[in-house]
Symmetry: C2
DNA sequence: GGCTTATTCAACCAATCGGTTGACGAAACG
DNA sequence: CGTTTCGTCAACCGATTGGTTGAATAAGCC
């Protein structure tokens, strides 16, 4: 019975889990493949993935004997929105938007 | 020897600490005043504030016998940038930017 | 000087966390 | 069929966490 943001931020607080998330950014992965770059046990990785899916940061789908892990952007978006709600700093991706803006302005 | 994001996200994972941060959004506060809305001990609040300042989310300055707590946006910005670096979702404040964009495009 | 207020320190506690190991279940291979 | 591969489960471990209390420090007030 804890706030969703509790579990999302807690999940993000661990460097192994953050690295897993960045790996999943490239492509969906099976549990064993996720574990490959780390030198901790497969069981430990399995637990990390459980934490990530419990927080909603990833989803897991079992096809045959392999379980596929994929990013689910919703939870991280919620956390990001909470932060932005703070309004203490300029919106991110300003650069990208300015480039886009320049492009739009100069093409006509 | 942990990554800065470890401590920032860990600090954000606690609802009491997040509430303290939102309180500090209104104004700087003394430790005792921070503690007032919570029904946990002052010592517990003091520890929470230590966690927040260790992570860089707030700074504390002692003037006389009272210690003032104020938000420091840098740490949260770093965390927000990390999230946005994921690029899995539209940048927040898109609305504001689109309004700005429209304005720029239509004024010439 | 003596009381009061502000805050931290120190010791303790139960619960959670990140990791291990070994056994287990279930799907694929030959 | 037997074996290998994929992944989880269960029990355990030491460290950390969020809380408590009571004492200690330090600054302001009358």
């Amino acid at each position: 019975m804890s706030h969703p943001l509790d579990t999302v931020f807690a999940a993000l607080a661990d460097p192994t889990r953050r690295q897993i998330l960045t790996m999943l950014l490239e492509d969906d992965m099976a549990v064993t493949d996720v574990a490959q770059p780390f030198d901790i046990s497969l069981a430990a990785i399995s637990k990390h993935l459980l934490v990530l899916s419990a927080s909603g940061l990833i989803t897991q789908e079992k096809r045959g004997r392999v379980k596929w892990c994929k990013l689910d952007p919703n939870a991280m978006r919620a956390a990001s929105v909470w932060m932005q709600g703070f309004g203490q700093f300029e919106p991110i991706h300003l650069d990208a938007f300015e480039r886009f803006l320049d492009q739009e302005l100069n093409q006509s």
